[in-house]
Amino acid sequence: MQRNDPLLRITNLEAGYANPVIGPLSLSVHAGEVVGFTGPNGAGKSTVLRVLTGEARCFAGDLWLAPDTGVACQAQSPYQGGELPLCGGEVFRLMGASPEILPPALRHLLPLRIDRLSGGQRQSILVWSVLGHAGRLVLLDEPTNNLDATGRELLISGLRQLDTERGALVISHDADFVEQVCHRIIKLTPEGRPSEEIRLRQAA
């Protein structure tokens, strides 16, 4: 892999389930940059991630992951807080993440059961454990769901300090959040086509 090769390259991708719901779409994520992917509900933002996880079908185009990249993936979880005796520290161990990455303000959550946390506290534990995973490519799907102002600010700070050897694709309908953390934003139309690409800042 060359230094300038992307961690993820998507070329003319058309993807969906029974039929395509998104595309044609091209984008790349390089080390040192955070790319945002926004659009209204139902535009197919999460479908790109689901192609990577094998849950959605690629009808045309190509999706390429750099070899030996390692992916830290936070898809929208079916887990919605039902009874589960799993503590925050164990969630970090599941992802092979060090709890040290968690901001000090959130560390008191580590010994607590995640089903006994508020929705926002639980979301913080899940997202930060993904950020703590060793994968160089970070995929986050609606990471600000349920977060309060403090949790959101902490996450913005964390993504801005992402290691320059890593890159992230952030899928979110939270336009303000995406603008604060991303180097580039790709906006989708309600029909699932890219409408514009906005470059906000220079990647590291």
Partner: protein, 266 residues
């Protein structure tokens, strides 16, 4: 009272104790996957397999395990999770077990044993089966545990990293199916179901972490089993109904969760 220490009863006691602990810990993961009905599904199909084994002259234990393995493969091929697959296994297994039991006297005896639970007649074959499945669980479950938990909280993470989930789920299903089949043959279908469902149900409420939940589940199963074994033997009652009644009576233990650990945040 002397019966409790009679060497004749040591073998069934140990066989049942091993089976109880193994299925209770397995039950924790089935509850995690919302598949706790698996116990009844696999147990009924194992029962049907055992009865069919008797009819065709095959060893019932091997036939029961074979039926369970076939059920896992069918479930894997259907690529479905959740309880609906197990509901079909219960209906099919129950009908096949009871219809099959009408064909020969030996099949009827086995059918009755599966319903009543004939723990005291467990022989060395059952003991070896339970020890084997306990050893397999002790080796395999720690390897599968992380992936099973991760797939609930971070769906797609392993697949994105080129690690398909199906070897984990099929491996776990095989382990659960064989453990439940052995438990059902040793102590009866409903007793096996009670041990899959109730210790995990209590542990989910009480434990402060997954590691503690595994410990709670195994300890609760061992305690319920031992109390039931002694009670049934001393009172000369059939084991399975005694175990189910005592396990059901332990339900208020869940209320202790109000005293243990922090409550949900607002």
């Amino acid at each position: 009272m002397d019966l409790l220490f009679d060497p004749l009863f040591r073998l069934p006691f140990v066989a049942g104790l091993m089976a109880a602990i193994v299925v209770a810990i397995t039950g924790l993961y089935l509850r995690l996957r919302a598949e706790w009905l698996a116990a009844l599904g696999f147990a009924h199909l194992a029962g049907a397999g055992g009865v069919v084994g008797v009819i065709i002259g095959a060893p019932p234990l091997a036939a029961a395990l074979g039926a369970s393995v076939i059920a896992v493969l069918v479930k894997g091929a259907l690529q479905r999770s959740g309880n609906d697959v197990y509901a079909w296994l219960i209906l099919f297994g129950w009908a096949a077990m009871l219809i099959g039991a009408t064909f020969t006297h030996h099949a009827k005896i086995l059918g009755d044993a599966l319903v009543d639970g004939q723990l005291y007649f467990a022989a060395s074959a059952e003991l070896w089966a339970t020890l084997s499945i306990a050893a397999a669980t002790a080796i395999a479950l720690p390897l599968l545990s992380r992936s099973l938990l991760r797939s609930e909280l971070f769906p797609g993470h392993d697949r994105t990293n080129g690690r398909p989930l199906w070897p984990v789920t099929v491996g776990f299903d095989l382990l659960a199916a064989v453990a439940i089949a052995v438990a059902a043959l040793v102590m009866g279908v409903m007793a096996a179901f009670a041990l899959v469902f109730i210790p995990a149900w209590i542990a989910f409420a009480l434990a402060g972490s997954w590691r503690l939940a595994v410990l709670w589940s195994g300890l609760i199963a061992a305690a319920l089993y031992t109390v039931s074994y002694v009670t049934a033997l001393l009172a000369d009652l059939p084991f399975a109904p005694v175990l189910v009644a005592i396990a059901a009576a332990a339900a208020p233990l869940r209320l202790l969760s109000k005293r243990l650990g922090p409550r949900p945040a607002s």
